[in-house]
């Protein structure tokens, strides 16, 4: 018997609906007069790979936080695979920036990657062998299979990024929101992450990648780009 974290039953994706549909979204942080996002409209088809481009403070992370249910919308609608927010916890994964994790917590790499399986386990159920196998497979894709027992506090910046991406893969979501996955990483990590992103795209999953750097080689990697400036969509 499973006790899901969500009060609603997890909904299966509507095959006819876009992966993400946003209309007239306004969102902001408590105590701030000006909204961090103002009038964003988007329709992202299933399987698309888009760059979300903007400078620091443009609203990229805020948009991801709204889509993943961390920040409530003040106005407008957000639908994921045809369902309202909160009905598709398993299908959406948000890769936060590394600074948002407490890397000093006493936990091994494998344990952290396994948290990507929690959404399927719910309350009172511990990860099973099947979950460990999925976590280990995700780690292998990122080239960190040998780090399973290493404490997360002893990882380099590039390794931390790969661990977070491995957790996102372990969740096996259909919509991935990746916040600056290539920011401040070494060349080896960059190559590995780029290869994994290609694999995600080839698997038919929908990917939104927040980046402040979008030119030359970057443009060929995505199907298109959405531009944000000061919380407003400019293209």
């Amino acid at each position: 018997m499973k006790f899901s974290y969500c009060r609603h039953r997890h909904s299966s994706p509507d095959p006819k609906a876009p992966a993400l549909e946003i209309k007239g979204l306004i969102a902001g942080y408590p105590g701030e007069d000006r909204p961090a996002l103002n009038g964003v409209n988007l329709s992202v088809p299933v399987g698309a790979s888009l760059a979300l481009v903007g400078a620091n403070g443009a609203g990229k992370s805020t948009l991801f936080k709204v889509i993943s249910g961390l920040l409530p919308a003040q106005a407008g609608t957000v639908r994921i695979f045809g369902h309202h927010l909160g009905a598709c916890h398993q299908q959406v994964v948000y890769l936060p920036q590394r600074s948002e994790i407490d890397w000093h917590f006493p936990m091994s790499v494998l344990e952290l990657v396994l948290t990507g399986r929690y959404v399927y386990l719910g309350w009172f159920t511990r990860p099973q062998k099947k979950d460990s196998d999925i976590a280990l497979e995700s780690m292998a894709q990122l080239g960190i299979a040998d780090l399973g027992l290493k404490q997360i506090g002893k990882l380099s910046g590039g390794q931390q990024q790969r661990v977070l991406i491995a957790r996102a893969l372990a969740q096996n979501a259909d919509l991935l929101l990746l916040d600056e996955p290539l920011n401040a990483v070494d060349a080896r990590t960059r190559d590995t992450v780029e290869r994994v992103l290609e694999g995600i795209k080839a698997a038919g999953k929908t990917v939104l990648v927040a980046t402040h750097h979008y030119c030359g080689q970057e443009e060929g990697r995505y199907d298109g780009a959405i531009y944000l400036k000061d919380g407003e969509q400019i293209k």
Binding site: H89, V93, E100, D102, M107, Y118, R126, P127
Partner: protein, 272 residues
């Protein structure tokens, strides 16, 4: 050897030792999450807020435990409630509510003109534990350990990445309030041993000491339990043999272990 066994001929010492072990285990397990979730200041606030409930219960002839539990829970939920207001920062409510509660306690003491048991309330008296107290301590400990076992993986995620926990649908408010509720109950248990003023040390210092020695959560809890039980037992014996404050002795034993471990670790880092 007689030095250790002799006190056990008395029933109140047997109760004190049993209470010491249970309290040590409880404070270590919950204290590990308090330390790792950076809630030490909240623990400090809750310990100070128990006073008015204890004094009111004493003046009304009720159970001091229940009075303390009510006061700490009111404080825990008061802090949580006020922190929801954007204009009241969380550290402001943590600093404000317990101070007001402590002032209320002092006011009640002065109004009741009863200073007799003030020392025991503020600094604890583990040798004064009754059978009824012991049952309540065991009950609270059992409930808290069950809660930690049931929600272990969610509490870990709450500590390391609360945003991800929220994104996958874990009700963070419920988990936070649950943790505060059991923290409040643990404070009530600790009050009998070390008093309102010093309980936070029993929650925080053994876990902080254990964290110096290991990077594994389970081992942190285990070592914290060993350090806490040793400290509380040291307090029992010091209190018995030297008629000193048990609460102060327990906290100083915790601190002594912390200093020894910290120095040993610093020496290891320097020479290896």
């Amino acid at each position: 050897m007689n030095f250790i066994t002799e006190p056990f001929q008395y029933a109140f010492i047997q109760r004190a030792v049993l209470a010491a072990v249970i309290t040590g285990v409880l404070c270590a397990c919950l204290g590990t999450f308090v330390v790792l979730r950076r809630m030490s200041v909240v623990g400090h606030a809750l310990t100070h807020s128990a006073l008015p409930g204890m004094v009111a219960a004493y003046l009304l002839g009720g159970s001091i435990f229940i009075g303390a539990a009510a006061a700490t829970m009111i404080t825990a939920f008061g802090i949580g409630f006020l922190s929801k207001d954007d204009k009241v920062y969380e550290d402001t409510s943590v600093g404000m509510v317990p101070t007001v509660m402590f002032a209320l306690g002092v006011l009640l003491i002065s109004a009741g003109k009863s200073y007799r048991d003030l020392s025991a309330m503020l600094f604890g008296n583990i040798l004064g534990i009754t059978s009824g107290d012991l049952k309540l301590i065991a009950l609270i400990t059992g409930a808290t350990l069950l809660m930690l076992a049931f929600f272990y993986k969610e509490l870990k995620l709450l500590c390391i990445d609360p945003d991800y926990a929220k994104a996958i649908g874990i009700p963070l408010h419920m988990l936070r309030y649950g943790l505060l509720l059991f923290l409040a109950l643990t404070v009530v248990v600790g009050i009998q041993s070390v008093g309102t003023v010093l309980t936070n040390a029993l929650l925080v210092v053994p876990a902080a000491t254990a964290r110096l020695l290991t990077d594994r959560l389970g081992t942190v809890m285990l070592l914290a339990g060993v350090f806490a039980v040793l400290s509380v037992l040291a307090g029992v014996f010091v209190s018995y043999y030297f008629s000193l404050s048990s609460g102060a002795a327990i906290v100083l034993a915790c601190a002594l272990i912390f200093v020894c471990v910290w120095l040993a670790r610093a020496a290891k880092v320097k020479f290896y």
